[in-house]
Symmetry: C2
Subunit: 201 residues, 2 copies
Amino acid sequence: MVTLYDSRLSGNGWKLRLLLSFLNRPYTRQILNLAEGAAGTPEFLRLNPLARVPVLVLDDGTPLIESNAILMYLAQGTRWFPSEPLAATRVTQWLFFEQYDHLKYFARPRFLVSIAKQQEQYADEIVYLRQIGQKALVALEAQLQQTPFLTGPDCTIADIALFPYTSMAEMGGYALQPFPALREWIARVQALPGFVPLIPQ
Amino acid sequence: MVTLYDSRLSGNGWKLRLLLSFLNRPYTRQILNLAEGAAGTPEFLRLNPLARVPVLVLDDGTPLIESNAILMYLAQGTRWFPSEPLAATRVTQWLFFEQYDHLKYFARPRFLVSIAKQQEQYADEIVYLRQIGQKALVALEAQLQQTPFLTGPDCTIADIALFPYTSMAEMGGYALQPFPALREWIARVQALPGFVPLIPQ
């Protein structure tokens, strides 16, 4: 069975737990306490020298890093990642968009505002990040005005990659009210069979 | 024939020109003048709503965006992107690393220092970006101390994605002298048959 090294509140780990659940694939979850430095131990750095979760360790001990690369690995050959080259590229475009235009601008404000509770101390940085993140919301809304999911009628790993931090945007002080198609998409993902919340009930 | 929408100095466009040349694949290059707003025209926004190069337009008029997604599309089935799932994942890991940990921290200082020549005005931002980019150089050096290219003995699209802005790091004020394996890797890529410089001779 594969082992997922995760933290309790990681949105990147949540991506993988969503896909593993949609695929109905069993796994062991190892929850690291990042605040206590669990990602910086020599044992963990052997799994990921970049000192961050998630890491997926395969049955033979091989560690995979980078949440979106792991999504692609797990989803290959399934309906969550089409194999036709152009359809696959429509998915990977969003995966790269998520890393360059999206992730940091949502994850960091959410951390500062709702987890570290350092909103005042980092007010300038939060404003700066949200100005960039706002453009990502506009891009997502424009696509979701046209299609139920990011690449068409079906949910793929593009949606799974963008769901966690978008759905938690308000924890970083974003307003989702101006984005009706995006809010419907969040509800659509949440309604999928196998959906799991960030914190298991 | 495919058409590459590019700018004269884009490192992301350079990635694609490197791969197209390595593949010996003919293409038409359309060079946009970004300083004159060529990426913001209605015609270009129909190709890429994110208003940036590169865009690759296929024979049938289909536009592809996101440089690393285009690298994957073009390299599929070639030796530049292995198809075995684990080997493919070793490549995609670096492609996502490039988008999250690398691109902005090299492209933006290079632009501010050597193209816009606004080093004084943006001194704080440049220092901030270089602090993050420095960690990416350390990660690249660590890998390249072990293998000639990022995923092993052969050059793949992982190397092509990371080559342009790493090789131009000094234009953003980075020092590459402390990274001997990385400097050898730059020379190794430059020596590959079909290598093309940023600005064609």
